[in-house]
Symmetry: C2
Subunit: 456 residues, 2 copies
Amino acid sequence: MASKPSIPKGTRDFSPAEVAKRQYIIQIIKDNFEKFGFQPIETPSFENSETLMGKYGEEGDRLIFKILNSGDYLAKANAAHLESKDSTKLTASISEKALRYDLTVPFARYVVQHQNDIEFPFKRYQIQPVWRADRPQKGRFREFFQCDADVVGSKSLWQEVELVQLYDTVFTTLGLEGVTVKINNRKILSGIAEVIGASDKLIDFTVALDKLDKIGEDGVKKEMIEKGIAEEAIAKVQPLFNFTGSISEKIEKLSQLLSASEEGIKGVEELRFICDKVMNLGLSSAILDLDVTLARGLNYYTGAIFEVAPPKGVAMGSIGGGGRYDDLTGIFGLKNMSGVGISFGLDRIYLVVEELNLFPETVTATSKALFINYGDKEAFYAMKAIKDLRAAGIKVELYPDNAKLAKQFQHADRRHIPFAVIAGDKEMESNTYSLKNLVTGEQLSVDFETLKNSLS
Amino acid sequence: MASKPSIPKGTRDFSPAEVAKRQYIIQIIKDNFEKFGFQPIETPSFENSETLMGKYGEEGDRLIFKILNSGDYLAKANAAHLESKDSTKLTASISEKALRYDLTVPFARYVVQHQNDIEFPFKRYQIQPVWRADRPQKGRFREFFQCDADVVGSKSLWQEVELVQLYDTVFTTLGLEGVTVKINNRKILSGIAEVIGASDKLIDFTVALDKLDKIGEDGVKKEMIEKGIAEEAIAKVQPLFNFTGSISEKIEKLSQLLSASEEGIKGVEELRFICDKVMNLGLSSAILDLDVTLARGLNYYTGAIFEVAPPKGVAMGSIGGGGRYDDLTGIFGLKNMSGVGISFGLDRIYLVVEELNLFPETVTATSKALFINYGDKEAFYAMKAIKDLRAAGIKVELYPDNAKLAKQFQHADRRHIPFAVIAGDKEMESNTYSLKNLVTGEQLSVDFETLKNSLS
């Protein structure tokens, strides 16, 4: 191979420092998932195609990575589709498996397949990569991790309360104070659609309303009218154009606005329960906000809808989202399984934590000391200490070769190893070690116990 | 979908208990990799096909999972191969990417691609899944994890010494005492081939010799002769048929046997250095053994060869292996990069640890206590305690629904949650909690501090 090797577009190599930082975030998410009673599962990277196809809409089907059948796959290829060179139709006969596109559908499949072994309500978390044949762009990758926590088998709104607390706890632990957990409810949106008498225009309505800060009330109304929403309909929801105040005040406004819609009122009640409990129990650093423009995959959620915005001042899209879906497993034939869950956006959280300089320095810590190699006799003396230090849980290394001293010290420097241990004839005779602090340059002659304590 | 969903053959779902046990093993491997100075990297799940194809032999090429190009892949398909229905040849024009087959080739690609950013010698570890379209059978899967540690950029034999220590430390920490770390050297094998004057028969020779325990000296010699190895050649290596004694004695025998082979002598010297250092530094529980029949992918390794056998009495193949390869990155155009590494076989280690009942009970520990749900008022009281307990790092849960008590206690029982916390009118009045030990049935009335201490 003549040219330098590369990796497919939209994928990434992670260096040691990057892996360490990602693991730091993942570990905090995991620890808190478990503290809240969620248990881990893992599913295969590829699923049977019929498990995934048709679950994410036409666009989703297109973006799912398909795996070519092994062996003589053309032998079983559909002759007509091959003849007509119809790629889309041919796929089904030459590809039986596809890479996971998200964690929700595999979770639904898992629940149905293992329903007899699962104790419900089932609180599961799953942190695994997913793959999408999206056009790669800044912050969008073809392989990325999802970190999901879902509860299936209970309609209790206490779950929603806990999920807001879970967001608060994770982001506070990460030092990301002041995230906004936005909450809405699908039934509120349905209620609004009912009141304005234009269910089919609901998305146009929320998209326009979401621009209130940017283009002002007149601009929003103009856009709504352009989209075909009647002026009288807009007048009916006038309070939404001045939708400020505390959450309680907002809920009060919604309660009046949606009084004619049975579903809308149900949404208001759900919101009231969740917000009331969350506020009374208190949040550590997150801000709860009721956002009636929040829609996120409208056709998916049936109750609460969540989205998390980074702390103010950070220019970044949502770093988490989720909601309630009343029929998670219906697609696989198991009815009446309500689910509610949230997801953490690892890549974006990483960028925000990096931007705010919140990764602890210890995260990328490498070995504590490099033992300088003066030759086999000295290396053997060093290895005896190294073995005992490692047994005490201390990360230490021997420079493998008897290279020039400058090179060995440069290696320690470039790897940000804070100490060098020098052990030559003099040290071996006195059964000591010279411990050099590579930051200050200070050098001490120490016995093993002192060495161990200094590096602990 | 009418029928129950399933997963592709050769793949697995992992339940919470299985994930916890796998993570327990992986964490011990990771901790020790880092203690020995190895740093983590991660590479994409799929690579460009040209990175992988041709690196694992013809059989390997066949077993690599290929990803179908997105969109109208037939538009760019090779017309002639399509016409002749040649699946193997067509693949290159309809598939540009393939799933990782092992971690070594992606690592070599990583080293070459990032050579300017890497500080050598580079000690990296990588724990990620790989995929092979092998025929699934007991203990062989189409998706499985590899756990590799390699050093690249140094020929120092101290690396081999440390890798034996690393095996010893990991398996001792897992409680798997008494594993045998078998060591051999490619140069010893070349020396034997030279001495018997039959390089092309080397594999036949070692395969036959490996059966010494089973079929005896006569049986082995008979097989060798059947394979076309001359009787006089066999006579020259007669000492190998009685190859017992300590490692030093074995090395002495080899030294005499291979005295005519320059390469063989070099192999003996390498073995002597490694074994001498390992023995003098001491192992915690592993047994080092020199096994001249050990060949493992003969064409791959150039120096030391390792393989780890489980403790005696456990019927299981090797649970680890590795070795030295002088030209790791040559396939990608970077010459003179010697590498040495070892791998841990996660699935088999799991089975052995399970069989010997060595998983600590705490590994699969779920929540410490389930708070019984008596209704919203009581649940709110419970949630205040739950919030504070979680803040103290204690895993606790509220049963989400106000279900029948029997059902809630059954849930705790089935999930092996050891305590239930009961908080009804009586407890709320006195600001206490009734803590019930679900194993002994004992129930105590406690204040929050006592509750916290009891569950810590």
